[in-house]
């Protein structure tokens, strides 16, 4: 079975732009979580979605939003990009809300 897939793998944007990152969970997984990993740090929780409903939100500004689609794939949207948004954005999926999660290889976002 395919693992968690994320697209694109790399992205370069400029300050003030908007970005959409995409995630396809492992087949059969209904929960998707998003994390931000700044270089040299551990991942920081942004959102969790389970059965298409938001189940958790981390300490990120309203510029960050997400949604989950009927096929359980997910999008992370970030508006008004800042230099500090440069990071690796990770998606993780799990079969149900509280089961072990599996990470994708992330989207590397660079803001110029």
């Amino acid at each position: 079975d395919a693992g968690v897939t994320q697209s694109p793998t790399h992205l370069i944007k400029t300050r003030g732009q908007h970005v959409t990152l995409r995630c396809s969970p492992i087949s059969g997984h209904k929960s998707v979580s998003w994390y931000q990993q700044v270089l040299g740090q551990g991942p920081q929780f942004i959102f969790q979605y389970y059965e298409k409903e938001e189940r958790g939100r981390g300490n990120f500004p309203d510029r960050f939003s997400a949604r989950q689609f009927p096929n359980y794939s997910s999008e992370l949207n970030v508006n008004a990009l800042l230099l500090g948004d440069s990071a690796l954005y990770l998606c993780a999926s799990s079969r149900q809300g509280r089961q072990p999660q599996h990470f994708g290889d992330g989207t590397r976002l660079s803001i110029l």
Binding site: V4, S31, S33, Y35, G40, Q41, G42, P43, Q44, F45, Q48, Y50, R55, G56, G58, L90, A92, S94, G97, R98, Q99, P100, Q101, H102, F103, G104, D105, G106
Partner: protein
């Protein structure tokens, strides 16, 4: 405030030696403690995990030791191999949530032949 504190930041071990990475947490309500391994350019991969009602869990060369009273847990890698060279993260699951985790800051492990 860092919810999970991890040490050391980096570690160099000889092949065949034991690698030990430590984590400490504050919130006694955390209910699940996984360790992840991350190679450059890859996402974290779940290695081993433990619940707070267990003091030790072993899977192959990897062992988690958990000290609930001290609010500490550690990863031991026995017979360390050059292929184990990676960054390791501990994490703790936030209570009363779905699957929200706090991660440590990571330990860069280098195993020299």
């Amino acid at each position: 405030q860092q919810q999970v504190k991890q040490s050391p930041q980096s570690l160099i071990v000889q092949k065949g030696g034991i690698s030990i990475i430590n984590c400490a947490y504050e919130n006694t309500a955390f209910d699940y403690f996984p360790w992840y391994q991350q190679f450059p350019g890859k996402g974290p991969a779940l290695l081993i995990a433990i619940r707070p009602d267990v003091s030790e869990k072993k899977e192959g060369r990897f062992t988690i030791s958990f000290n609930k009273s001290a609010k500490q847990f550690s990863l031991h890698i026995m017979d360390s191999q050059p292929g184990d060279s990676a960054t390791y993260f501990c994490a703790a699951r936030r209570p009363n949530t779905g699957n929200q985790f706090y991660f440590g800051t990571g330990t860069s492990l280098t195993v020299i032949p």
